[in-house]
């Protein structure tokens, strides 16, 4: 294999792939990126056996002799990044080493044979859906923060995607809070389908998605989700298992609804949160007519008292929350005003944008 490529044509896909490649590998070949050079195209592949990312390059490229080889992903990406902008890079395989040359720079990297590189097995396609990258990105960004991390309930360590005939919905929960966002889109699906995309796959997919109208094709398989977007083909294994019935935990009976300015509420919570217990992060909300008080204290007997004006008329209520969970929601929302609906100190709170009901957030309180 021998080829010449512009630094930029190589660096962009390499950096995307380096995100998939994990730092600690059990199989050495998994820290490598697979190069497949054809006469007029180059394909780069990285995988961690759960998520696979394939990048297709056919511009800024001249292949002198085709071939297949795997090269350490992170080192090659670091080398590429450190080279001057707009330079040409030559990669040439000699024996079991690859020579990387650019101007006066010359690097010799170890390789592993392409045959050692694992393939993600193909599986039957059951459904496909095309949508704008920005829409999918918004959907995932609105919800992914609520995914669990290394929970024994393995099915929570990911994001649930649900397709109905006229919507695509994302739901994530760690058992304490839940985020749900729905995109109105005619999908043509005759049944309601659900799949759980693992945490890593979700985060990598978000990194790939552009904030633009260019399209992404989602292909649903029995065990995989594939996303094709521009030069990339992203494939992730799915988490097997049943996602909890999210409808059951979205509260309907709340009778204490207030409206607050999103940024002011966030700032007030952040201020009070400074003096909450650093691990537990509990704050006490005191809701009363047109005012929301926020209180926090910590084991050092330090305390914070703050308040902000809100639109509220009704019974007073005192309720505790993990301030981090509330701030996460206020970061995920985008509008100026938020509506929070509560019922009592032991029942969940519902948070939404006042003008846009696409995303809803449920947060369980904390007994303080």
């Amino acid at each position: 294999m021998k080829l010449t490529i512009t630094r930029e044509a190589l660096l962009t896909p390499l950096q995307a792939i380096a995100g998939v490649v994990e730092r600690k590998q059990t199989m050495p070949v998994l820290s490598n990126v697979l190069f497949v050079a054809e006469p007029d195209s180059l394909t780069l592949t990285g995988t961690n056996m759960e998520v696979e990312l394939v990048a297709h390059v056919n511009e800024g490229l001249a292949v002198e002799s085709p071939g297949r080889i795997t090269i350490p992903a992170r080192k090659l990406s670091d080398i590429c990044r450190s080279l001057g902008e707009g330079t040409q890079v030559e990669l040439a395989l000699q024996g079991d080493q690859v020579h990387v040359r650019s101007g006066a720079s010359h690097f010799t990297l170890s390789t592993l044979p392409a045959e050692h590189f694992p393939n993600v097995e193909e599986d039957a396609e059951s459904f496909r859906l095309e949508l704008a990258q920005a829409d999918l990105r918004n959907l995932l960004e609105a919800t992914s923060f609520a995914m669990a991390q290394q929970d024994v309930r393995y099915y929570l360590n990911g994001l649930m995607l649900e397709v109905g005939s006229n919507y695509l919905r994302a739901v994530a929960t760690d058992g304490h809070r839940l985020a749900m966002s729905t995109l109105a889109v005619v999908t043509g699906s005759e049944e309601v389908r659900q799949l759980i995309l693992p945490r890593k796959g979700t985060l990598e997919l978000i990194r790939l998605l552009a904030d633009a109208d260019t399209s992404v094709m989602l292909v649903f398989g029995d065990n995989h989700l594939r996303a094709t977007l521009g030069a990339y083909t992203f494939t992730s294994k799915l988490i097997e298992g049943k996602f909890p019935d999210y409808n059951r935990v979205i509260p309907r009976g709340g009778d204490k609804t207030f409206i607050a300015d999103r940024q002011s509420l966030k700032a007030t919570l952040q201020r009070a949160g400074i003096l909450s217990h650093e691990n537990i992060r509990g704050v006490r909300l005191q809701l009363q007519t047109n005012e929301l008080g926020v209180f926090a204290n910590n084991p050092d007997q330090e305390q914070a008292e703050d308040s902000l004006p809100v639109d509220y008329v009704g019974e007073s209520l005192q309720i505790g929350f993990n301030v981090g969970y509330l701030i996460d929601v206020l970061n995920a929302l985008e509008g100026n005003n938020v509506r929070m609906t509560l019922s009592n100190a032991n029942s969940s709170g519902l948070i939404e944008d006042v003008d846009n009901g696409n995303s809803v957030y449920v947060v369980m309180p904390m007994r303080l």
């Binding site: 217990h277 969940s348 449920v362 007994r367």
Partner: protein, 355 residues
Amino acid sequence: MSQRKIIHCDCDCFYAAVEMRDDPSLREVALAVGGDGGRGVVATCNYAARAYGVRSAMTMSEAHRLCPDLVVVPPDMARYRQVSRQVMGIFRDYTPLVEPLSVDEAFLDVSETELFQGSATLIARDIRRRVREEVGITVSAGVAGNKFLAKVASDWNKPDGLFVVLPEAADDFVRALPIERLFGVGKVTANRLHELGVSTCNDLQAWSREQLAERFGRLGLRLYEMSRGIDPRPVVVSRPTKSISVERTYGRDLPTLAACEAALDELVTDLALRLKRKGENKPMHKLFVKLRFSDFSTHTQERIRNLTVLPQREDFLPLLRELYGDARRPVRLLGLGVRYRVDEPGEAVQLRLFD
């Protein structure tokens, strides 16, 4: 807070007292209640036996060696529990605020009791009289302004005694206390305190809160308070169960891991019975296995499980294997249990969406 009035009542050698009450022939002998047959352990013994140096938790063979004439009676827990209910019932005639610590011991908060013009001393005296007359055993009582002092006081004139720490005398009383009398001070802490030249609460009072916290952590803070006679803990009427366990000391050591595994079934069944009867209606946070080898070294291994169904043999097996390791030593005692998550008052609890 206004001055509280706390009574600590402690039945004198409870199991033995019940046996002596029910069998007059046992009243004049040195008596121990516990498993006999060489491997048993003394659960309780009467004062005649204590005169020979017999103590609870001692092996029965050791007890026999100290006191060759020792009479041993096997424990009859059902009968003791029944007597305990009767005694606790008497306590509750004086105040609803009764906190049992075990079958034979309880704290009473009589701050609001109007009987005897609110005199805790007279209440304690009356309780002692009624238990003696109605139940036929003796109770020692301590009266003080908090739990810590009341507990120390009940031990002061034991057996069959009453000791009152009046508020104005509390300070002198505490200062004179040897540190071994403090809650949470065992041999190790006592030795460390002695190394610092501390042998009484008076000595302890010379140390600041920070110095004690630095050396003894949380216990240090408690030491600081106790040495000044401070103990704000309230009398808690019902405390949540923290753990439920069963254990068995074997008449013959279990020689191998395989023998321990074989013995597991019986314990799992016993534990299931106890859980059905006394279990809390919440997830079992941890499972644990306890092993005591023939050299008396005792080890436990626990694992977070949050089980909502009765634990099975398979749940304990890995813990047992881990614990036994490659010990190749005979096992004297095997125990199993579950621990619940106890939400300390004042501790924040994040509520869950799916439960």
